[in-house]
Subunit: 436 residues, 2 copies
């Protein structure tokens, strides 16, 4: 039997216990997994699973030091004490399974370095895309390709809100409030709405896709607060849908760009069809082409499925240590090369300003005929070539002008926009959204 | 270095060689793979890859017996000599990577039994869904779920034809002819058009999803020859699209049903958005929910990506043999349990007549008012409950009546239809299509 300790018995912890206590009809190796301890904050809280009381403890430290435990499953979330407990567990030679994207995105460096030194695995399938198998394919099968780009819809809350805005035509604030009531958004929605959660996840995917560590602070994150019903309507008219995309790509010269921002997605692209709380990750590789992995990005069952798949992967290879002696001498070499983390260098990052992108911009202005000429001139002077300028409506007494550019340098676009924003005829620039 | 021999240098073989000869920027383990021999039918044929001439041989037998070769990659296709060469390679202790779905579907039993006895792997990611990672997720991560159903669009040719019929409104025969001209359908399109290729693939997926071997003859295969432009139009009107689905599901009582047939798919389901030559596999599991894996189902690059991912998987675990002695005594136990084939029993199969399904039926008839009453009576007497009867048009002097049933027993439906078909007022029943 492989004995495991679980830190946390919230939604995901409970789902994990439910699978492990009921292995019949699942992969036969799960029958050799035994839950030895489950760590909780409060013993007395009523639980959805029936665990013998001697298994449940508030002494999390004892779990990560327990010599009988081989695998520690961290599903408590948050940075501390999760980080310290994981490091201590690694020090004690435990393999780690975690669903904690924020922790890995911020402290992955420290954790993977410690794990490689100790010769243990840190598995994180559940950290991105809930039950969708994406971490393992990126580490293994898809890795035979030269990955060019990974594009994800990897935050269920924002995709739910954008989908409802598209279907119902409502405003962001109203639908957010309703989503909170229905449990699709948290009371403090910042991490989701501002793209921070997606930023954590795409940092992880980028490090796997491009084989280099990513500093979380280098990930540009722009959320969906500023998306208006009117932008959704324009997108629809232009045959796009607006999605919060998390993008990791290798740019010219080999540097890596990692970013999260709302994006106009052409309606005939696979990602455009991903609605509601569903997640999807599109991987583009050479010679593979495009593969999209789609499924439930959150929820107890889906996330627990990913957690248990990581336990399974470790159980499958734990007899693979070459030999105890070799393992102690060179711990990392004793690890299965398709499960362990193989990169230790940081990726070279491409700054946002070095990228090229197409933009949708919405202006509110006073004097339409004059403005269109000035817009054209300013954009032109900054080498921003325009695909279309449309004057379609009014917001109060302000005329609304929508511009879609061709692919242009972000730096050029920024300077053009700074100039245009200072024009007297321009009242405001409520929306700037990149176009895929 | 891990030395491999490749049988076949057609499209997939060439793609495989191209990846292996150019490993920079891909998974680092590929740098330890060396092509030792490539077997071809004709040495003189011009090739798209530059291989040293001493590597290329017509002596396939020498490849599968070469003591230096650890992995034999079979990408020649067809049943013989592929089957004999694979068995001989296994006998000589080689691991096998194959893209040959027809061979595995028909002779998997013999091949996996031999492989388990010899303690070698038989890997087949490329056999289903081209570059989409589906075999490995089903064997590993998704396997922690109780799989309820696997539904695939896994034949690119038929999906291309159905997509064009939907977009253009054309007839099957015309679009097939054009697809043949364009290279999307073969000169003899039988295996694709009649659902046999999809049948091979779903048999393989079913065996992995449900952990039991599948007799290929037990897979019901119905193709798309009889789908008319008028059916596509009715589907559209009713908010469906017609797809050739390959379905493997566990039915009540635990038996397994495996079948291929054209299906009305509601337009808001993920599979309905899979168009052209793309493939997708939808896996439903407990507690996971629905996961869909989408991508290019064929083509040199995509299929080669899958072939090389299997090579990678073997290279990753080949040092995992517990010990030479143990391995010889009990070869199967020396294999990585997540890569090897673990089932040896046949699945119990549910006959088609035991299933329940909803049906779309199109009748051509002489006397409409009388017929509708008789249809209702016959269906009712056979416990077939009807969702809608619509009389919408005429084909020549025949009135066209379309019936959609609720979920009914296939056996009841068959007997109702036998009775209705013999009515004098019924001219013919040109279409019977199941509804998802």
């Amino acid at each position: 039997m492989v004995k495991i300790g679980i830190l946390g018995l919230g939604t995901v912890g409970t789902g994990t216990v439910q699978i492990l206590l009921d292995p019949v009809g699942r992969h036969h190796l799960l029958q050799s997994v035994e839950i030895r301890r489950v760590g909780v904050r409060s013993i007395d809280k009523p639980r959805a699973v029936d665990l013998p009381s001697e298994l449940v403890t508030t002494d999390l430290d004892a779990i990560v030091c327990d010599p009988e435990i081989e695998i520690v499953v961290e599903v408590m979330g948050g940075i501390e004490p999760a980080r310290s407990l994981i490091l201590k567990a690694i020090e004690h030679g435990k393999h780690i399974v975690t669903a904690n994207k924020a922790l890995i995105a911020k402290f992955g460096d420290e954790i993977f370095t410690a794990a490689n030194q100790a010769g243990v695995y840190v598995m994180l399938e559940a950290a991105v895309g809930g039950g969708i198998p994406v971490i393992q394919p990126l580490k293994q099968s898809l890795g035979v390709n030269r990955i060019g780009r990974v594009t994800g819809i990897i935050n269920g809350t924002t995709n739910y809100i954008l989908t409802r805005m598209t279907v119902e035509g409502g405003e962001f604030a109203d639908i957010l409030a309703d989503a909170q009531k229905l449990g699709y958004a948290e009371a403090d929605p910042t991490a989701d709405i501002d793209g921070l959660d997606a930023g954590d996840k795409i940092a992880i995917l980028a490090s796997l896709a491009f084989g280099g560590r990513i500093k979380r602070d280098d990930v540009y994150c722009e959320g969906i607060r500023k998306i208006g019903a009117v932008d959704i309507a324009y997108a629809d008219k232009l045959n796009f849908v607006i999605k919060l995309l998390a993008i990791a790509e290798r740019v010219e010269g080999g540097a890596v760009s990692v970013r999260v921002h709302p994006t106009f997605v052409p309606r005939d692209r696979p990602l455009a069809t991903v609605n509601g709380v569903y997640n999807a990750i599109l991987v583009e590789g050479d010679p593979l082409g495009e593969v999209m992995l789609f499924g439930p990005g959150a929820g107890a069952g889906a996330t627990a499925s990913a957690v248990v798949s990581d336990i399974l992967a470790i159980v499958g290879v734990r007899q693979c240590h070459i030999s105890r002696e070799e393992a102690i001498e060179s711990p990392h070499n004793a690890l299965h090369p398709l499960l362990s983390c193989n990169h230790t260098e940081y990726s070279q990052m491409a700054p946002l300003s070095s990228l090229r992108s197409s933009f949708y911009v919405r202006f509110l202005c006073l004097d339409v005929p004059g403005v269109i000429g000035k817009l054209g001139t300013s954009f032109g002077e900054h080498h921003v070539s325009i695909e279309s300028i449309v004057q379609t409506g009014f917001q109060g007494d302000r005329a609304e002008i929508v511009v879609v550019t061709h692919d242009v340098s972000e730096a050029d676009f920024d300077s053009a926009l700074a100039e245009i924003g200072s024009l007297e005829a321009i009242d405001s620039i409520p929306s700037i959204i990149r176009v895929l």
